[in-house]
């Protein structure tokens, strides 16, 4: 009987110990829940901003169907602002005004490049109707694109004070529409120019000679030989083709925003490329327009009537003139001595 009692007592004790142990085990997670510490875990704005790599954003999940909205803070907007408000206008002013200054100095020093032999009165066809059409489609749209583009960068400080904000905004709105739509004939013009003129614009050894002689621009009476296009014109051609290509690609991204996905950084990149290149492009075209009109006697006829004076052609494109004459049969291929 006594052993049975002892057995019971031992069992009860074991049971008690078991309960106690269980209670201890159960109380451990309960204690952890009593003092939550969200500070230790919560995401903090300051930490996110400090950990941010340049060009990245504080982003999260969004429930509205516009993934652009999932970016909470994009600090690089400030960088873009600084570039757009200070760097770009500076680059543009240096490029465009710098080029205008250079051209004025060149005109004052060198004067108009005259035809040394004077007008001969005989002309040779330099550009046919289609060549001139392509040139002027590209040129005229370029002028509108350049002016409406410059207006977006400088208009606020240069044009707006003259007409007032309301009239200026109206002008800028029309400029934007013109810019968007004339972009397409411009792109087509650049593409056609490439097709019709690329075969005469491949650089060769003759161009090195031409460049060494400074194109004959800086010394009166010097006329390095050239075929259809000399090295300077080839330079302009490739500036237009490559520049036009990059302007088209970057402009396409601005015409169709977020075509690469919801990344504002892409838009910032393309608008910067578009702006900087445009300034350089405009500067180059100013030089081209100068030497093709005021700067050189007889040069405008090439794109005007398409007929250039033979003396002009002989001085600037001697080898091309020979080719043309051969084609016309005016000069026999080889003088064969008479028997």
């Amino acid at each position: 009987m006594k052993t049975a009692f002892n057995f019971l007592r031992a069992g009860a004790l074991a049971l008690f110990v078991g309960f106690a142990a269980g209670a201890v085990c159960a109380s451990a997670p309960a204690a952890a829940q009593q003092a939550p510490n969200p500070t230790a875990q919560s995401v903090k704005e300051e930490q996110l901003l400090n950990a941010l790599k340049p060009g990245s954003t504080v982003s999260g999940r969004i429930t509205i169907p516009d993934q652009n909205a999932s970016t909470l803070i994009q600090p690089q907007g400030q960088t873009w602002r600084a570039f757009h408000q200070s760097t770009l206008p500076l680059i543009g002013a240096l490029a465009v005004l710098g080029m205008l200054g250079l051209l004025v100095v060149f005109y004052l020093v060198r004067g108009r490049v005259k035809i040394d032999g004077g007008f001969s009165g005989r002309t040779v066809t330099r550009f046919g109707g289609f060549d001139r059409f392509v040139h002027w489609v590209t040129a005229s749209t370029f002028i509108v694109l350049a002016l409406s583009g410059l207006n977006l960068t400088y208009g606020k400080s240069v044009v707006a004070p003259l007409f007032g904000d309301a009239a200026f905004a109206n002008l800028a709105a029309w400029g934007k529409i013109a810019h968007n739509y004339l972009a397409f004939p411009f792109m087509a013009g650049v593409a056609l120019m490439f097709l019709i003129w690329v075969k005469d614009n491949v650089p060769n050894r003759l161009d090195v000679e031409w460049l060494k002689a400074g194109g004959g621009l800086f010394v009166k009476g010097a006329h390095p030989p050239a075929k259809r296009f000399n090295a300077g014109q080839k330079g302009i051609f490739w500036i237009v083709i490559l520049g036009g290509l990059v302007m088209s690609v970057s402009g396409w991204h601005l015409l169709f925003p977020f075509s690469d996905g919801p990344f504002v950084s892409e838009q910032q990149f393309w608008v910067n490329v578009h702006g900087v290149l445009a300034m350089v492009f405009i500067a180059a075209m100013l030089a081209h327009a100068y030497i093709g009109s005021v700067g050189m006697e007889g040069a405008f006829d090439a794109m005007g009537t398409g007929e250039v004076d033979e003396n002009w052609a002989n001085e600037h494109h001697s080898l091309w003139l020979e080719e043309q004459k051969k084609l016309e049969g005016k000069v026999p291929p080889r003088a064969v001595p008479a028997e």
């Binding site: 875990q41 919560s42 400030q78 606020k156 905004a169 601005l254 910032q268």
Partner: protein, 198 residues
């Protein structure tokens, strides 16, 4: 005049999106445009926080700086507003804005984005206060009625605060002191160059 601001106490925001809905309803905002939105940071991870964000009405606003047609202006209460008559829809303000506030309706081909739309702090636009013309372009003008922005007014957890910047910063500081934690006044450093010292 006060310098009004928004402050979202992310430790209180429960991502109910009622501010987004109330804003759309109050101003008859067109489809596809959200003047306010709620972004959840570290979604599904420990310590995730949701932040209700709209135009922060920045000091020295980047949008106003880059706008090519001077369509932005700042009111005496420091609310950044714009004129849809002047806006040409170029998109520059969206590139410069740190908070993605400017929105554009899609009105046509190519880059013709239409006039920019953004949070007005329920303060309308340059038109005469409380006119139909103002409502059509910019939505309700609650400030002219002596009310605060609808998003903050109806926030169920009082996470989103609107009003005098000094006062809402004080309220937020008190909250942080009492509960012992705070994830920060989101956007303040970026918008106003100074955060709320905690």
């Amino acid at each position: 005049m006060a310098r009004v601001k928004f402050l979202c106490d992310a430790d209180r925001c429960i991502e109910c999106n009622a501010c987004v809905t109330a804003c759309k309803n109050e101003h008859d905002v067109p489809w596809g445009i959200n003047r306010r939105r709620v972004v959840t940071i570290n979604d599904g991870l420990p310590g995730e926080r949701s932040v209700s964000m709209a135009c922060m009405h920045c000091t020295d606003a980047p949008c106003a700086a880059v706008c090519p047609v001077n369509c932005f202006y700042t009111t005496a209460d420091a609310v950044v507003l714009h004129s849809k008559d002047l806006c040409i829809g170029c998109g520059y303000c969206f590139y410069a804005c740190p908070f993605g506030a400017p929105q554009y309706p899609r009105v046509g081909n190519f880059g013709s984005r239409g006039k920019m739309d953004k949070c007005t702090y329920c303060a309308g636009g340059p038109e005469a206060d409380l006119t139909q013309a103002e409502y059509v372009k910019y939505g309700a003008n609650r400030l002219a009625e002596g009310k605060l922005p609808i998003c903050a007014e109806m926030c169920s957890t009082k996470a989103l605060l609107a009003g005098d910047g000094a006062i809402i910063a004080e309220i937020y500081k008190e909250r942080v002191t009492r509960r012992g934690y705070g994830s920060g006044a989101w956007g303040w450093k970026t918008a106003y160059k100074d955060g709320v010292a905690l």
